[in-house]
Symmetry: C2
Subunit: 688 residues, 2 copies
């Protein structure tokens, strides 16, 4: 039985998190802001972000509407086959998934675009206060994402008592993530690249110069890509890990839901405690402060889950598997940091290589990016094997449940991860606002320091997120098998025990699965490219046609909204074919080769997806920090040939790390969920 205590506790913790988010919001709102320029530009950014969100959500609503109707008619089984309430539940769960994730994104953006102004203003006086505004702004996103996520899962589970409904919820979250992450990623890089190409390269005006029509779009991009997009991505991973654990666990025994809800709830509670402990201590080092939050949360989580396990008689082996996930997540994060931190060799050697021109910058970053996939994949390999072995004595499918719980463990402190991560774009925005509002040299130094801390911490949280996604998709493979077997039992077909690589149908699927993440990435990268070209044209047009703009005549402002419009329309237009390609291929493979081919397909997808996601994220981060390292005065410093080469590396890395790399996670999850949802259909109708 699912214990009511844990359901109520989980709901209470979620509500508490939402309450904390509201309290943080009022705190931020209450911070002073007096500078008019800053406020005005802040308003423009907020409005721009809202424009994008509105357009995105309208498109999403149409898309989700169609999918919801399809679910209503066909899933989990065709509506004419009887059980229509199940279809209704799943369609409803799907809509909840998209809506709650969208709501979290909306709240996060709303607060982030206030917090940036407050952080900028506070930087005039005090680094500590400026830090707090940035961090607490990010924490609203963390609280909202995980609060809505846990609330949705628990409420749905309580009402339906059916873990499959969670699949619908998870698919909803994935749909939104696809739009938010890939769409936001295209938006932000469109604006970034074209602002630089015309502004810095052609006209030689500085970054964040208010004359540049794309400058507001660039700032908006930070918010829609790095705040809303990243939040949706982790909402998606978090729900998927819970869905996998619930489906695999509840198939073994209904009361396994208790431990999932308990550990997830404790994770959120630990993050709330971590958020309230966060402040810059006497050390005055923002990086230390951010890392300290993570360690506190981890420690609290470790203690509280042990306590709960002891008090409520949970299985210690499951606890062990969960902790393995958490610890390996930390290790992956630290290892990722090595490859992207400018105090370490890879970044410094890449910067050094830049002295011999851009080709060697690219080759060097490429090589270290390739190296960087090693620790994460070894981490995933060891954690899945360890979780399995720890839970093996429990028998049955418990080892697989152990792996799912390792994924839940890795994602347990995700609210804190999001808080640290969303801090980055907020202080980045604040830095821009300080510059545009002329708040003085000291404020600029302060926001520079805060910004740099954001970049350092980001690498670690990103490693965490990808590692967790890796474990989650394995759990989703188990979920798929589970769904197939439930259907097979009903249809009187043979139960499958796995996917044998030597089975030619599995192998067929494997081969087709490999190129999908590559093609998906290519479509997004070319999407950014095409979109940037459209925007470059518009920027050039404005500089040509608006009199006095180029000279910076007082009172002459560019048409910011036109650029935001182009980035928005283009991003959404470019994103659809990539998403459809992945979904349609899945459906084709399923109807050609059946469930075995899908097993291979998902494996190929996971393998090449993990490889490319890790490579692109890390190489991108490395090039970015390589450029910053040169700009800090090394290898010739700003303006040198090495700097020019490092800028090329950074530009190549931009869509890698902010568009394609992180979107691959979502692509894999979407494909996995589509497979699970259509398991019955693939089982019943296939060519081979």
């Amino acid at each position: 039985m699912i214990n009511t205590f844990w359901q109520i506790s989980a709901i209470l913790v979620s509500v508490l998190a939402l309450g904390v988010a509201f309290w943080l919001y009022t705190w931020i709102k209450a911070q002073p802001s007096s500078n008019e320029t800053v406020q005005h530009v802040g308003d423009l950014i907020r409005k721009g972000a809202n424009t994008f969100l509105r357009r995105e959500y309208v498109l999403l609503a149409r898309f989700a509407g169609v999918i919801a109707i399809l679910i209503l008619i066909f899933l989990p089984s065709p509506i004419w086959s009887g059980n229509w309430t199940k279809n209704l539940t799943m369609a409803f769960a799907y809509i909840c998934g998209t809506a709650l994730s969208a709501l979290a994104g909306k709240i996060g953006i709303q607060v982030a675009t206030i917090a940036n102004v407050k952080s900028a203003e506070a930087a005039k006086k005090d680094i500590k206060l400026s830090f707090m505004a940035g961090f607490r702004g990010g924490a609203v996103m963390g609280m909202a994402v995980v609060g809505f996520c846990l609330l949705g899962v628990t409420v749905l589970l309580s009402f339906t008592k059916d873990s499959s409904a969670i699949l619908g919820f998870s698919f909803g979250a994935s749909s939104l993530a696809l739009f938010a992450k890939a769409g936001g990623g295209i938006f932000t890089k469109t604006a970034d690249i074209s602002a630089d190409l015309v502004g810095k390269v052609e006209l030689g005006i500085p970054e964040d110069d208010p004359r540049n029509p794309a400058v507001i779009a660039d700032n908006v991009g930070d918010n829609v890509g790095d705040v809303a997009g990243m939040g949706a991505d982790l909402f998606d991973s978090n729900v998927a890990s819970m869905a996998a654990a619930l489906i695999v666990g509840m198939a073994l025994a209904k009361d396994n839901a208790n431990i999932v809800l308990a550990y997830a709830g404790i994770g959120l509670l630990a993050s709330i405690i971590g958020v309230f402990c966060a402040r810059m201590g006497s050390s005055k080092d923002p990086t230390t402060a951010l890392n300290k939050n993570t360690y506190i949360t981890t420690g609290v989580y470790l203690l509280l889950t042990a306590l709960a396990t002891f008090m409520f008689g949970f299985e210690w082996r499951i606890w062990g598997a969960t902790m393995v996930g958490l610890l390996v997540g930390l290790i992956i994060g630290i290892a990722t940091d090595y490859f992207t931190n400018d105090k370490k060799k890879p970044v410094q050697l890449t910067a050094e290589a830049s002295k011999s021109g851009p080709a060697l910058t690219i080759l060097s970053g490429f090589a270290y990016g390739f190296f960087s996939v090693l620790p994460a994949l070894i981490g995933i390999a060891i954690s899945s094997l360890a979780a399995y072995k720890i839970c093996e004595p429990l028998g049955g499918n418990y080892p697989l449940f152990g792996i799912s719980m390792a994924a839940v463990g890795m994602l347990s402190i995700v609210a804190m991860i999001i808080s640290n991560d969303a801090y980055g774009p907020i202080v980045d925005n604040a830095r821009g606002l300080v510059e545009m509002g002329n708040l003085g040299e000291e404020a600029l130094n302060i926001t520079d320091e805060l910004d740099s801390a954001g970049n350092t911490v980001k690498a670690m949280t990103k490693g965490f997120a990808i590692g967790a996604a890796g474990l989650t998709v394995i759990a989703l493979l188990g979920t798929f098998m589970n769904e197939v077997n439930v259907a097979a039992a009903i249809a009187g077909k043979e139960i499958i025990s796995g996917f044998d690589i030597m089975n030619p149908v599995v192998f067929f699927g494997l081969m087709i699965g490999i190129p999908i993440p590559a093609v998906f990435s290519a479509m997004l990268i070319l999407g950014v490219d095409r979109n940037a070209q459209r925007m470059v044209k518009e920027i050039r047009r404005q500089f040509k046609e608006i009199p006095g703009l180029r000279e910076g005549k007082a009172g002459v402002v560019p048409d910011y909204s036109k650029c935001i419009d182009i980035a928005t329309t283009g991003a959404l237009r470019e994103l659809i074919p990539a998403g459809l390609m992945a979904i349609i291929t899945t459906i084709l493979v399923g109807f050609i080769g059946g469930v075995q081919a899908i097993g291979g397909f998902l494996t190929g997808n996971i393998v090449s997806g993990l490889l490319l996601a890790l490579f692109m994220s890390n190489a991108g981060g490395l090039w970015d920090n390589g450029k910053k390292f040169v700009e800090a005065g090394h290898c010739g410093g700003k303006g040198s040939d090495a700097h020019k080469a490092a800028v090329v590396g950074d530009t190549v890395g931009d869509p890698f790390k902010d568009t394609a790399g992180p979107s691959i996670n979502t692509q894999i999850t979407v494909v996995s969920l589509v497979s699970s949802l259509l398991a019955v259909a693939f089982l019943s109708y296939s060519l081979f």
Copy 2:
């Protein structure tokens, strides 16, 4: 029973091929060469190539000696367990594999470094004769490689009657290929990059300028990388495909060896016919001539195998599977051509993107490189499934035999593929010689045209080679399972029927297998980088310390051999760690997770290896031709900003397409063979 008729026929065809090689050699030798400069430079190139080969072979002999002793002691089972003759046979077969492949490489280089001089000389008068010198020079390599390969396999099989001995032979060929392909790849790109960096970029002297101390090393590199390296690579793939087919086939019935030998022999015969048909017709288009050779060979092969199947009562289904392989190989070749041909959109759009700077060149090439993996992988997926399904009615392991035969089919016309491929570096060299010997404008135009045809055809042959390697490694996975089961039967252990992805040990292996090709590539790329830095220093030193060199004073020559020396030493030094990393990881995974983990490991390796090999080869080819497209006067032409950007793309692509990409094939084969050879050990001693 293995039929003596087919053994004798195969041996006769091999000897015929070697005879043809000798005849072609005398033909080439008999062509006139009068220009002294050309002859002198040609001598330098030949000597340089021989220096590299000698050093490489000495190192290889040591390495192979150690491995041979290890095989003698431990494989197929420890020598103290009784059957020492088997160990002796395998060690002997191993040495034969390295020696015959090395011999083929030596012959190929010897002739290629004569043919380049003759082709250059002939270009003064006649494009047809110049073409013939280039093509026939390449054909010697083709005949020698496949002749020795078939001869070795047939003789070994006839004497031992044991297909496992072929594994030893195949591993020998792989060891040589690792040295020749990866070592040659590092050599050629070291010379290429550093010659360009100091010569073209720093001093502004033209390419192939005799004052540049690295210019001879650069020409040597074409021979050791693209002639000897490529030959060793295809020797390796060809033997591996035959070994897999023989092992899987003979485990079913001894007389399956007949069909393997028959089809392989016919393939070589068809190639001989193709070589003799080769000439530039009235069309005067070298590309057409080269492609025509391929089509003629394919047609002859199709007809003759059908005839043999009919006359000797071979199974038609096996014939069908073989033809599927051949046809899919052609299709992959054509699809690959699309992504690297400068008459097609991807290259042209990448050149277009270069107008906005090097970052967009890189991003665009990256995206199309990602797209380009799709057709090849779909081709492999379909051909393996089709071969399997065609042979399914034969029962037992015949479907797997069918897949092995599809790989044999893809590689059947490999002698022609090598001839076409080795033609490229020969006429490339000829072009350099024409320039250095001042043979006139018309000769330059002729060799330019011949060179460009080489590039176009190369893409197709490369697609072929990678596709074949893909199918071969699947067959090798089957071989591994076969070896495990032979050992399991003897040891009284359970027979395995496959590798289940849901088995955590398989999954563990899968995750560890993914990063290996990436790390291997990274090590080679950084190896090129480090080596190039050493060489750049030496070139700068010579220009500084040799009086009159920079000014081009008559009689002053740089110390070419010093540069060749650096490239040689560095290449061999950088290659060893990469090779050992792959082999040691395999051994570790095997002893940790046993045969199931190795099954996963090989799968992960194949998946990420195919992805990266296809991507790097195609992206590299695309950037290369993008640069040539710009140089042909498009997008601003030579000297424009677009050209500078395109050069950056080309430099990044160089180690992709000539070092890392093609070496991955060999890395996968080596790892697969090590696994098969150690199957018994992994079965007996492992942690899990």
